[in-house]
């Protein structure tokens, strides 16, 4: 077991890798939260966003919020089911951590280069539904209950298009391991011309849009934010949480956004691969490249989040079953046929 070819024993590498991942999520969530939720949203609404805390452009705002939440009291309603309610945020957080294990950030920088990478990532990402339902049911609050039921319907309904959107990529790259997909995109060629490799977003544009739309629904972001629709059910399943557990939910929300953006960047935009960069340099620049691509994908998702109103439950289900899934199937058919022909 080695990282960057330094073999430093099994135990320590595992510790280093888990430490890196444990650091990655809060950091990623903070950066996402600050850049998109504060600054970009503010400027889109012709205001400045936080400017005071931390001097230059209020960078300390989110960290300050985090500290505030940590020192707040953790309240459990009297009729609530304490243990289930206490455990829920950790389950939602768990699914975010597990997704990062397979996302490669360089030729050799990956926590676990699984061969069934994509399959594993999508399977694990659906764990958060359990956490949401636990939170909604256990907090003995009518609004939370409605929100939990809505969340189940929505998250399950959008697992299917999410997976189908990825199948096109798997067909084209021939492998399910994320590392393999990235390499396929770097070395591939579009009908012979391999100037910039073959980022699947060009040929899989339908798959990419489906993935973004389905990921938006997985993250319960507008236009699909019924479970946390503040004007209808006041904060949804998080309504009874406070203090550290609410912080966990918040971090989980942005961590998952970071994870899905990373997945989309890896599957469709070629992960850490840059057209002219090979060997050792790829290792050095890899993470930066991935971060830039993740930021771009996240920009698309948050852009939709700040523009669109939210749909109603039945419209949302209708969109998933009547539109997204048929389109995904057609996309797979076309990709398969072209794969056979070329």
């Amino acid at each position: 077991m080695s990282i960057l070819a330094l073999d430093i024993g099994w135990g320590t590498t595992l510790a280093v890798k888990t430490l890196v991942v444990m650091l990655l999520i809060p950091l990623g969530a903070l950066i996402f939260g600050y850049v998109f939720l504060f600054k970009m949203m503010a400027h889109m609404q012709s205001r400045l966003g936080p400017m005071e805390s931390g001097g230059f452009h209020g960078w300390f705002q989110l960290v300050g919020d985090g500290i505030k939440f940590v020192q707040k009291e953790d309240i459990f309603p009297e009729k609530a089911d304490r243990h289930v309610m206490a455990l829920a945020p950790f389950i939602v957080m768990l699914s975010t951590f597990l997704v990062f294990l397979v996302v490669p950030a360089g030729p050799r920088i990956v926590v676990a280069p699984l061969d069934v990478g994509v399959f594993y990532a999508l399977a694990v990402s659906s764990l958060s539904v359990i956490g949401v339902v636990m939170a909604g049911w256990a907090s003995a609050n009518k609004y939370a209950l409605i929100s939990a039921l809505r969340a189940t319907g929505q998250l399950i309904a959008y697992e299917v298009p999410l997976v189908l959107a990825v199948v096109g990529v798997v067909i084209q790259s021939g492998t399910m391991s994320l590392q393999g997909i990235v390499l396929a995109q770097r070395d591939g060629a579009i009908f012979g011309w391999d100037g910039i490799g073959h980022p699947f977003v060009l040929t899989q544009i339908v798959g990419f849009t489906l993935f973004i739309v389905a990921a938006q629904a997985e993250l319960t972001q507008p236009p699909f934010d019924m479970p946390v629709a503040e004007s209808e059910i006041v904060g949804g399943y998080m309504v009874e949480y406070s203090g550290f557990r609410f912080l966990l939910f918040f971090l989980a929300e942005f961590g998952t956004a970071f994870a899905f953006a990373a997945l989309a960047a890896t599957l469709f935009l070629g992960g850490w691969a840059l057209p002219g960069v090979h060997g050792g340099a790829a290792d050095a620049f890899g993470p930066v490249v991935v971060l830039v691509k993740v930021m771009f994908v996240a920009f698309l998702m948050f852009w939709a989040r700040f523009t669109y109103p939210r749909m109603r439950e039945d419209q949302l289900q209708a969109l998933a079953w009547k539109w997204l899934i048929p389109i995904a199937l057609v996309n797979i058919l076309v990709t398969g046929a072209l794969k056979v022909v070329f």
């Binding site: 970009m40 503010a42 400027h43 889109m44 609404q45 012709s46 205001r47 400045l48 400017m51 852009w303 939709a304 700040f306 523009t307 669109y308």
Partner: protein, 161 residues
């Protein structure tokens, strides 16, 4: 039909993107502040000399938030043969800004033009009791009372305050 929907979705995105690159409208208050127009009703200033303690402002205030106490004093007659005049002297003139609704009836109803509006608004206080401004505090506000601005063309200029 679908094209109209897609166009609708994209035009919405266009609006938010365009606004993102336009300058924000926020005025960062403590550092830079928007100065209120001349006529803004921020605080009421009292010119003590012209007040004759006639209690009209106190009577016509809907919120009953003006407290006045005065007494009578003898004044030498204006002409030497004339009889002595009695003039009202103000002991206490408080306006309780915790109750005041800034309607301006007192300023308008005062027959001796002793009350003026000033656009000054930075007099918030931590303790509600200190919102009861007494005579001299209202006197200090007199320095902040601006000259009434020129009127729009076509207005009939009257000597109104």
């Amino acid at each position: 039909m679908v094209m109209r929907e897609v166009k609708g979705m994209l035009s919405g995105l266009g609006v938010t993107l365009r606004t993102m690159f336009e300058p924000a409208v926020t005025v960062q208050y403590p550092h830079e502040s928007e100065d209120p127009p001349i006529r803004a009703r921020g605080v009421i200033a009292l010119k003590e000399e012209s007040c004759t303690v006639c209690m009209l402002c106190c009577r016509s205030c809907p919120d009953w938030c003006i407290y006045i106490e005065g007494h009578k004093e003898k004044r030498p007659p204006r002409r030497e043969g004339g009889r002595e005049r009695t003039a009202g002297i103000l002991d206490r003139f408080d306006i309780d800004y915790a109750l005041c609704m800034y309607c301006g009836i007192c300023v308008e109803v005062c027959p001796f033009d002793a009350l003026f509006w000033s656009p000054e608004f930075e007099y918030c206080a931590t303790d509600i009791r200190s919102l009861l401004h007494d005579k001299n505090k209202l006197g200090d506000w007199m320095t902040k009372v601006p000259e009434p601005g020129p009127l729009e063309s076509g207005a009939q200029v009257k000597g109104k305050k």
